[in-house]
């Protein structure tokens, strides 16, 4: 996230808004390029797995989505910590803008996991430690979004949501290890999601897809943060200037 330094400097919404606006097309374009390259490698070039056939190719979506879902939660917790420590307005907005994307990634990971699991394990769902943790992560995202949505005052929503994120991030490793332990004790499935010996093209395909998801997440989060900014700062001069003619009554 090379824009993080910029974000810090452009911590005021009025200066960040146009910056985000110019950055979004670039991130979107890079995302498409990486995505096409990754899909080409993953779907056409990478060899068919001799055990799993063609069905394994879904991991080119599944694994990057899982990575992103975990990473976005960490980034949100990072923004939450910044927001609570320095009382910056932008951090809370960033955390809120990232949450739906994180939840989407967690959902995508579960969904593709189920699609993959049916042919591989013979069941849509198994109580594998990773799947279970991913499900709990989705719950954490939903809890965060529900909390911030329930609080009318934007400032309080940011702070309370931030605190929840920090509590969550402390708990995530505890939850992960307890689920893992629970899983080994109950000896459900011992299937491992990652193959130890991965063909080089597969690895490249996956990395390209991961980059695609990164760029997509950044672009979407920036778009969402712009919307949040306009809504929250609708009474300030810069928003009125930004919206120009369509001010009165245009936004609630």
């Amino acid at each position: 996230m090379k824009d993080r330094f910029n974000l810090y400097r452009f911590a005021s919404p009025a200066t960040f808004y146009p910056l985000a606006g110019t950055l979004i097309p670039y991130f979107a374009a890079i995302s498409v390029i990486f995505g096409l390259a990754g899909l080409y490698l993953g779907m056409l070039v990478a060899p068919t797995d001799f055990q799993q056939g063609e069905g394994y190719r879904i991991i080119f979506i599944h694994v990057p989505a899982s990575w992103m879902s975990m990473f976005i939660y960490l980034v949100m917790a990072f923004w939450a910590a910044i927001g609570l420590a320095f009382n910056t307005r932008l951090s809370g907005m960033m955390a809120q803008a990232l949450a739906p994307t994180g939840a989407l990634m967690a959902f995508l990971s579960l969904w593709t996991g189920a699609l993959w699991g049916k042919p591989m394990w013979g069941a849509w769902w198994v109580w594998d430690a990773r799947l279970t943790s991913e499900l709990i992560l989705l719950f954490l995202y939903i809890g965060y979004m529900a909390l911030t949505a329930a609080i009318d005052d934007a400032r309080r929503a940011d702070k309370a949501g931030g605190l929840l994120l920090l509590v969550g991030v402390v708990n995530v490793p505890i939850i992960y290890f307890s689920v893992k332990w629970w899983n080994t004790l109950h000896q459900g499935s011992s299937v491992n999601l990652t193959k130890s010996s991965m063909a080089e093209t597969m690895l490249w395909g996956m990395l390209l897809m991961a980059m695609c998801f990164w760029m997509y997440s950044i672009a979407v989060a920036l778009m969402r943060v712009r919307t949040i900014m306009l809504e929250r700062e609708r009474n300030t001069d810069w928003v009125k200037a930004e919206l120009g003619g369509q001010v009165a009554g245009g936004k609630k």
Partner: protein
């Protein structure tokens, strides 16, 4: 430091004694939920014995959830929460007192009644003992972690449902180790490992949660 904690505990216990109906209804909720399971899944003793730890623990989580929304809501409504926040002590200590009081009136009764309910599920004496111990050890963590959720959702519409949404995922480790301890005893593996992990979680959350709760309360009181 101890003085303020004990002052809060004393006040909350006295209030709870004046409103015994609350304690009793949460307890009966626990009893009824646990008793419903055999009716739903059949009276097969082997099956019941296998399900007992999970059923009892999930019911304990839900019964705790039931009493959480009122942890701060009453004090918030009548203004005493402000006065507690203005006491010349760190708010975390005040919250520690409230968490302990909450455990005494919600967690402790569950632990005391749990062995009786365990008999319904044909648990052995060993398993009953471990069950009681596990609930005794684990419920303080439920009160502690729950307090964070109660403070975050203080005064919000739909606070009770939201509270469950926030808190239940965080309860998962307690559920796993609590039920695991009983399960391991039933299957003859011994539950000591689970119990010590449960104790570690409880110590960590009772130590840490009141301060997070205090921060959440300050946000809610702004």
């Amino acid at each position: 430091m101890l003085k303020i904690v004990s002052a809060v505990i004393g006040r909350d216990l006295k209030l709870a004694m004046r409103r015994q109906a609350d304690i009793v209804s949460a307890l009966f909720f626990f009893i009824i939920v646990v008793s419903l399971f055999p009716l739903g899944i059949g009276p097969e003793p082997d099956l019941l014995r296998k399900l007992a730890p999970g059923v009892l623990w999930v019911a304990a989580l839900l019964a705790t959830m039931l009493s959480l929304p009122r942890l701060f809501a009453d004090d918030h409504r009548d203004g005493t929460l402000e006065q507690l926040a203005l006491a010349p002590h760190p708010l975390g200590l005040v919250v520690t007192g409230k968490v302990i009081a909450h455990w005494l009136v919600s967690g402790l009764p569950l632990a005391l009644i749990a062995p009786v309910l365990g008999i319904q599920f044909d648990l052995s004496a060993d398993a009953l003992l471990v069950l009681t111990g596990a609930i005794l050890l684990g419920t303080p963590a439920l009160s502690g972690i729950g307090a964070i959720g109660a403070a975050l959702t203080l005064g919000l519409r739909g606070g009770g449902v939201l509270l469950s949404l926030l808190v239940l995922p965080l309860y998962i480790p307690v559920l796993i180790f609590g039920a695991g301890a009983v399960d391991a005893t039933v299957t003859g593996l011994g539950g000591e490992g689970h119990l010590s992990l449960l104790a570690a979680i409880t110590f960590a959350s009772v130590g840490f949660a009141p301060w997070a709760t205090a921060a959440a309360l300050k946000i809610a009181l702004e």
